[in-house]
Structures are given as structure tokens and as C-alpha cells.
Symmetry: C2
Subunit: 382 residues, 2 copies
């Protein structure tokens, strides 16, 4: 009997909207997203407690909004308020709770889970939604800079297991993403700043002009200029989304060309028990890999200095003591294992010009870490 060669093609479409005050009754973005599905639909909300600040009255606003638009949104349950940050991905009870609500409230594949929060809450709620009924619809409302310009836009869902970040997860596109700039207002300065790290990353590997615009607006960004941040988020989102649609969205290959600086970032988050923000860890990971690029002779000193300087100008760290531990290097095989195949990391030849390598000189890497310990303020290494 002859072998049958099967091909399965799928195509997903989703909008990424930019708005302000999404839950004001007159804002129809969320209403229109749900109405686009052709009928009145059920929805349950999963909300990061970080957005429920007392002054904002968030949950009441949310309920009023659903009430005002009840011809389209059937809000079937009280919002599920969950803790923010990695804790929500570490404990299996959160996923179990969301799945249980999907079951209890009859959320079907044409109903909605609406997740409002930072990247960790979106990842967790997305995983629960993606695995219930083989996928109920997810609308993401990212509430941090990092989630609006990077993690909330993509096709990944995940939780942590076995003390490994994102051990469980799926590739599942959202039904829609709604970026509300006002949601960022309640961020701490630290969270505001750390979100810019992914923008620096994507600029370094894809867009020299964007890197230059970040250099120019670094002081404004650091001082919470909302307009500058909106432009940064929009361009970063564009580049990120172009990358996903053009490449290998479900990562069947060995390389992950958007994960510049991430092998060390993932390990640093774990080594610091997630006391470092993801964006801070990414900033340090970028600093490490550009310093390694410089010390191994492929990146110029001038470009190296510009990159370290822009990170510092944005208020981002470029060093943590964990960089100088041998444990850090365990991040290399772990990074390979999560992705599979051959170890593949990115280095920089020039701003906007990355190169893939498959081997790392661990001695030089430790030297790079040591060099960074002396980098605030930026100094010459030679």
C-alpha cells in the first residue's frame, strides 16, 4: 500500500488595535471585535490584579462597559482576578481555574476569553483558552509596555513547569489584540522602562533607523513621555508582527531569529528567582551578547558603545551579579533544548545586521560578563 502524503494548511487573521480608554462606554473597539464574529457572544474576563488600582475602578468600569454593550457581549461571570508576574505561570491552579470557568459558563469555540494584563497573565490565560475545547477565542488587552510591543502580539501561550520557563504551551494566534495606551499609566517606573528592552532588541536585529529614533527619544521615554512610548510600541509591534508572518511562526526550525539576547535573559530570570523583570533580563542579555560580539571582533567598538549607552539612557540595567556565575552558562543548553535542534544564537555584526552562530566560546562569554560589571557609566574596554 502506497504512502499517503498529507498536507495541512491553515491561515489565521487577527487585528492589533491601538486605542485609549478601552472600557469607556463610548469606545467601541472591544464591542466591534466581538460583533465581528457575527452574533452576540459569551465572554469571561481574566484580569491581572495589577490593573485593578483603586483610583481606576477597573472592575466596575469593565462591568459597566459590558452592560452598556450587552446586545453584543454576554458577560456571563464575574471577572477572574489573578496575580500578575511569573507567579501566575508557576502555579497550576490558575490554569485550572480558568478552564473550570470555561466549563462552568459554557464558553465554546465561538465564545471569548478576554485577558487583561501583563505578559504573564496573557500567557497563562492564553494557554488555558488554547487547550479548552481545542481552542476558545482569546482577546488580549496587554497592560504593560512589554506585552503591548512584544509578548502580547504573538502566537505563543505558556505556563512554567519543572522550574522551566514556558515548558508547557502552544502556538495559538489570538482572535484580536487591543493595545490601550492608558492601561500603561499605572505602571511603576521600573515596569515602564523595562518594556523598552524588546524594542531595542528588535531595532538592533532589524531596523537601524528605529534604533536611531530610540537613541533620540531615550530621555523622553525614560521620563514617561506617553507620545514617545506610543510611537515606540507601534513600530516595535509592526516589526514583531512582520517577523511572525514572514518567518516560521510555529518555530519548527532550529533558529529563533527574534530571540536575540534571550538565552541569558531566560537564565537570569530563573537565577534571580524572577526578581529581575523580563525586560531588565533582556536588556542585560542584549548587553552580554553585544559585548561578546565586540570582544570576539565582529562588532565595532563604536557600535558597542552606542548600544550600551542607549540601554543605560533608557534606565535599563546592563549587568547583574548572576552574570558572573558558572550557572549562567547552563542557559545555553537549556535554550537549545527548549527550541530543539542545533544550538543557535544571534550575535551582531553591526546595528541592524545580526548573524547566527552555533558555538560559543565560554571563556570569552565570561570575560564579557566581567566587562559589563564595569560598564556603568560606559567605559572603553581597550
Amino acid at each position: 500500500m502506497e504512502t499517503i502524503h498529507q498536507t495541512v494548511r491553515t491561515e489565521f487573521h487577527y487585528p492589533v488595535h491601538f486605542t485609549r480608554r478601552v472600557f469607556e462606554a463610548g469606545n467601541t473597539v472591544l464591542r466591534d471585535v466581538i460583533a465581528s464574529s457575527g452574533s452576540r457572544r459569551r465572554a469571561i474576563f481574566v484580569v491581572d490584579e495589577g490593573v485593578c488600582t483603586p483610583e481606576r475602578n477597573f472592575l466596575q468600569q469593565l462591568e459597566s462597559y459590558c452592560h452598556a454593550h450587552s446586545d453584543v457581549i454576554e458577560n456571563v461571570a464575574a471577572p477572574i482576578v489573578v496575580t500578575g508576574g511569573e507567579a501566575v505561570k508557576n502555579g497550576s491552579e490558575y490554569v485550572a481555574f480558568v478552564r473550570s470557568a470555561v466549563n462552568t459558563y459554557g464558553i465554546c469555540r465561538h465564545s471569548f476569553v478576554v485577558a487583561v494584563g501583563g505578559g504573564a497573565v496573557l500567557d497563562m490565560a492564553g494557554y488555558a483558552a488554547a487547550t479548552s475545547h481545542r481552542g476558545v477565542r482569546l482577546i488580549r488587552l496587554p497592560s504593560t509596555v512589554l506585552a503591548q510591543n512584544d509578548s502580547g502580539l504573538g502566537v505563543k501561550t505558556s505556563v512554567n513547569r519543572f522550574n522551566k520557563k514556558n515548558f508547557l504551551g502552544t502556538f495559538t494566534p489570538a482572535f484580536a489584540v487591543i493595545n490601550d495606551l492608558e492601561l500603561l499609566e499605572s505602571l511603576s517606573d521600573r515596569d515602564w522602562r523595562s518594556g523598552a528592552a524588546e524594542a531595542v532588541k528588535v531595532a538592533l536585529i532589524k531596523d537601524t533607523a528605529f534604533f536611531e529614533s530610540i537613541e533620540e527619544s531615550a530621555a523622553a521615554l525614560m521620563h514617561r513621555d506617553a507620545y514617545a512610548m506610543e510611537r515606540l510600541i507601534y513600530r516595535c509591534a509592526q516589526l514583531h508582527l512582520q517577523h511572525i508572518s514572514g518567518g516560521d511562526p510555529f518555530e519548527t526550525g532550529s533558529s529563533r531569529p527574534l530571540d536575540f539576547g534571550h538565552w541569558a535573559a531566560h537564565k537570569l530570570e530563573q537565577l534571580t528567582n524572577y526578581h529581575l523583570r523580563h525586560g531588565e533580563a533582556v536588556a542585560i542579555g542584549i548587553a552580554l551578547d553585544v559585548t561578546y560580539s565586540y570582544l570576539t571582533g565582529i562588532l565595532s567598538e563604536d557600535s558597542w558603545t552606542r548600544i550600551i549607552r542607549v540601554l543605560l539612557d533608557l534606565g535599563l540595567p546592563v549587568y547583574a551579579p548572576e552574570l558572573e556565575t558558572r550557572d549562567l552558562l547552563a542557559g545555553l543548553p537549556e535554550f537549545r533544548e527548549h527550541l530543539g535542534g542545533q544550538l543557535t544564537i544571534l550575535l551582531l555584526r553591526e546595528i541592524g545586521d545580526p548573524v547566527e552562530v552555533h558555538e560559543v566560546d565560554t571563556q570569552k562569554m565570561m570575560e564579557s560578563a566581567l566587562a559589563l560589571s564595569q560598564c556603568a557609566p560606559v567605559c572603553s574596554l581597550k
Copy 2:
């Protein structure tokens, strides 16, 4: 800021091989599948205890095979032997165990989980593989007629939760499927026969000539003619795979045109505490929906008689007492909820000519159930 419209396209390719004695050292099908990935790869095996019959010495054969092909297959752990049937999908410990093995033995996205067993074991192992590292590669070796001609071929993975079949799951294509006819030898007569139900189903909705060939070979199939079964499996697999690649593989719409007879089948399995085999439940579900098609005047008596007769000739049931309970009708909204959107079930206008309907006359449905209670041997209803 303008909305960004994102498109994500993915394409999967996988072979469905047909062979005999897959674990004989000289059979290179499994070896070639793993070698096709370009390198020596790690693998762990999840095996249905149903295939581990004493006379077959299955586990020893498997180990010898991996040893003989250790230049390509790095068999890193003892096979994980699990119970067969729905029990393996009901208990969360099985998924947890497979995930834990993926973690312990460093199975990455380029390594393999090889699952050998009936549909339930393939579903469970597939779910564990699909959600670890956002998807490690799965090779399926279906060991039942049903899994070889239907459930083992597709893109679904699942386990049961909240007492609902397939509540958790993903759409994830396998890396390869290997159908080994000899694996069917140890099936009980009951399992052998029940697997033909999905072939009758797909013939009824897609291929009149295939239905006629099943009519002709019904006696041979019932008496375990391996050659007749091989042809049945091959044609059924072809039709099933064509359907998946041509339609809506990840089921984003409201209809599921391959699920003829399945709303009642799923409910009957649950109402009988899974004492009915899935194929038996499907046979009864088909009988119910064709009888309803006949009693509501859209299917001719002659065709109705032929369909009931072929089911009985194959040794399949067309009735269970649970058909006549009101509980059965709860299967309609549950079927809708799992799929989402509008209730959509298939009826038959003619053999090979289905029609979608969105409403069910529950009185006529109960009459259909009553009629079936008198159907062995087939009798006229008028």
C-alpha cells in the same frame, strides 16, 4: 494609530505509511521516518498495554529494534506502558507522566515521542507532546482499526476533563503516522469489528462506491479477513485525509462535516460509562441519524434498509437502551458547545449525499430511537 492586520500562515506535511511488522529489524519505515529529520534523534515510547500481549513480546521487540537502529534512534528511556481505552484520557496522571519524561529525558522539539496504541492512547500522548515545549514531534503507530482508519490520522489531540470527552486538547499534526496491519492481530473480535463504523460513516457522506464495496465485503470483514480490512482502512484513510486537507482542519467554523452520527455517539459513550466502544457508539449514532433522516422524509426506505443492514452485517450494534432516555438529547447542546457556534448536524439525503441541519425535532428523534429497538433483524417501519 492605525490597526495592524496580521496574517499567520502555516503548512504541515506528514506521511501516512502502511506496513507490516514495523519492529522487525529489517523494516526500515520507523528508522527512515526518524532519519528524515536529518540527524540521530532522541525518542521515548508510550505504549498501550493492549499491544503488549505475552505471545508478541512487544517491548522486547521494540528495544531490539531501537538497538539495531541506534545510529539513528537514541532510545533514552524504558517504554512508558499505559492502560488503553478512555481510562488513559480520564486520569490526569498519564499526561503528567509523559510530560515528566519529556523533561527528564531532554526530549526537545526535534526529538520524538512515539505513541503505539489505540485512539485513546494516541490522543493522550499527542496532547502531552503537543503541549510540551509548545510541541515535540509525535509519531503515531495506531494499533486498532479505528485508530488506523480515522482517529490516528488527523490533527487532534485530547484528554477528558469535567466528565466531558476531549474537553482539553489541541490541533497538532503528527510528524508521521505508521499503520502496521499486524498490530491489529491481537484485537478482540469486538474491537476488530467496531473499527469499521467510521468507514461506513465516511462512505455514507463522501463515497457511494466505497459504501458498495463495504456492502460486498461485509461478511469477509466480519470474519477477520486481513486483506479486506487493509483495503477498507486504506480507502477510509484516504477519504479522511482528503477531508482534513481540503476543509477547515482546525475547525474554526461551526460545522464538522465528518462528524456524522457523532452527537449521539459521544453521549452514548458517556451514558454507558464508556462500556460501548467508540466504534459501536458511532454505529448506533449513524443508525439513529439515518433513521431520523428516513422518518423525516428526506432519505428513502430502500437506502435506510441498506445502511442498517450493512451495519448489522459488519457485526455492529444499531441500538442501545440508553438511546431511549431523555438524557440522550442532552448530547445535542453538548455537541454544539464543544464545537461552538450554531448547532449543526448532518443528515442523509442519499447514500453519499449528506445535508446540514440546524434544528432537530426531538419527538421524531425519540421515535427514531424506538424504531431502532426493533431493528435487529432489519424490519420495515411502515
